[in-house]
């Protein structure tokens, strides 16, 4: 009987301890004791880290914190697409819409702005009407060839990348204002038409480098 009286408080303490341990684990306040024993044990993926109980190993590489959640604020695929073809009030939404949903959400706005810039638009050198052209634009990622020349447009290759020297704005202007015939484009500054298919700036103000990091040094 006396012996049992001693056991009762001990049992009670153990119950309390178990309860506390669970609470602490659930709230992730203090990691499991094995997380500080200097041994990789349990389901730890590294020494005292990872697994179901310990802090992730990867959260503090070399003492540097890379943890946390990052939310999207801006994105760029092809150059100048959102600027020329997206209504200003929709650009923040455009920047935070995943590429696979851009066509469903923005193709109509792009088509409207295309026709706002060029009301007489009929087709371009790719043979696209306003719907087809704005649909291409709305798939706003940069296509990059695994092989061959990687260029936005070099007179031959079309949308296979973007090199530093590519005159991407002239290609945009050609598609928007130049009509179907690349050899006899509209809006080329002749026959009483304005010059709209090129801006008269065909290269960067500073030469690029032949090797990494390719970009010119800063001013």
């Amino acid at each position: 009987m006396k012996k049992n009286l001693y056991i009762l408080p001990i049992l009670f303490s153990i119950l309390l301890f178990v309860q506390c341990t669970e609470e602490i684990t659930d709230n992730s306040i203090i990691p499991n004791a094995t997380c500080t024993d200097g041994i990789q044990n349990g389901d730890e993926t590294g020494l005292d880290c990872g697994g179901s109980n310990c802090a992730p190993c990867e959260d503090a590489i070399g003492g540097i914190d890379f943890s946390g959640t990052y939310m999207q604020e801006d994105q760029v695929g092809r150059p100048a697409v959102s600027i020329v073809y997206i209504t200003p009030g929709l650009r923040d939404a455009y920047n935070t819409t995943i590429p696979s949903e851009l066509t469903a959400n923005f193709q109509q706005d792009m088509q409207a702005n295309l026709l706002l810039h060029h009301p007489a638009y009929s087709t371009n050198i790719l043979g696209q009407d306003a719907t087809a052209f704005s649909t291409l634009l709305s798939k706003d990622v940069l296509w990059v060839g695994q092989s061959g020349i990687t260029t936005f447009y070099d007179g031959t290759n079309i949308l296979t990348g973007r090199r530093l020297q590519d005159d991407v704005m002239d290609f945009h202007l050609l598609l928007l204002y130049g009509g179907a015939d690349v050899n006899n484009p509209l809006n080329d500054g002749t026959n009483g038409q304005p010059l709209l298919i090129r801006d008269g700036v065909s290269e960067n103000d500073k030469p690029f480098l032949a090797n990494f990091p390719y970009l010119a040094s800063p001013f």
Binding site: Q72, V76, G200
Partner: protein, 233 residues
């Protein structure tokens, strides 16, 4: 009587009217939420490297930095993650990412790696290949710091803005002031800098790409690539 909200809106709208011409550029200053911030992307480039087995990815941020003090004080933001997204199958969903973020005086890189999650929300894949390069602060090519790791090359720092365009003339056309460009234009971006992140990596790290994506090059295997900036919550 105009309440505070309406007044704020009116001022903001007036500001938009005044600055509207500057909102038309590569992706420079494109949208109110990111315009002029540390997450504002100005341009993205992707091309075959001098070594034709390699691909080069360039993300430019904070465009139109004037030379001198404005460029010297421009900083990468430790709360901003720059993420190259690479879709190798043609469904516009990223299959691989290369993540870059600044800590201290260096830019840290992770990947290429299958992302922890696709879409608008990211975590840094610290289990992936890790690389880092000291952020360059010099203004000459000799001072450009380049790091190599696992067949890849890395650079981070201020560079000349590679974008060129007669933006002022374009704005004048859009606003109806003039009817067309001049045969010899004026590069609005001449003499300005950006903060650049450059990665060169073997194409073999990205797989083969998908054919039938580009109707203008239907047999060429294509990677669909874009760059995002994401802010720590």
């Amino acid at each position: 009587m105009m309440n505070k909200t309406k007044l704020t809106f009116a001022i903001a709208f007036l500001g938009m009217l005044i600055t509207a011409p500057f909102l038309l550029a590569g992706d420079h200053f494109d949208a109110p939420a990111v315009s002029g911030t540390s997450s504002d992307l100005s341009s993205f480039y992707a091309f075959e490297g001098a070594n034709t087995n390699n691909l080069v990815l360039v993300a430019n941020l904070q465009g139109l930095l004037p030379s001198g003090v404005p460029t010297q004080i421009a900083q990468f933001d430790e709360d901003v993650l720059v993420e190259f997204n690479i879709d190798t199958t043609g469904d516009l969903i990223e299959d691989l990412v290369i993540q870059a973020t600044k800590r201290g005086d260096s830019m840290y890189f992770f990947g290429p790696v299958v992302p922890i999650s696709t879409g608008l929300q990211s975590e840094i894949a610290t289990f992936a290949t890790q690389s880092k390069v000291a952020i360059s602060s010099g203004t000459t090519d000799a001072e450009a710091i380049v790091a190599t790791n696992n067949g890849m090359q890395f650079f981070a720092g201020a560079r000349d803005d590679a974008f060129f365009f007669d933006l002022n003339r374009f704005n004048a056309i859009v606003s109806g002031e003039v009817t067309g460009f001049n045969e010899v234009g004026e590069d609005t971006f001449a003499g300005t800098n950006t903060l650049s992140i450059v990665v060169e990596l073997p194409k073999s790290m990205l797989g083969t790409g998908a054919i039938g994506i580009n109707p203008n090059a239907p047999t060429t295997p294509i990677y669909s690539i874009w760059v995002e900036t994401k802010r720590k919550q």
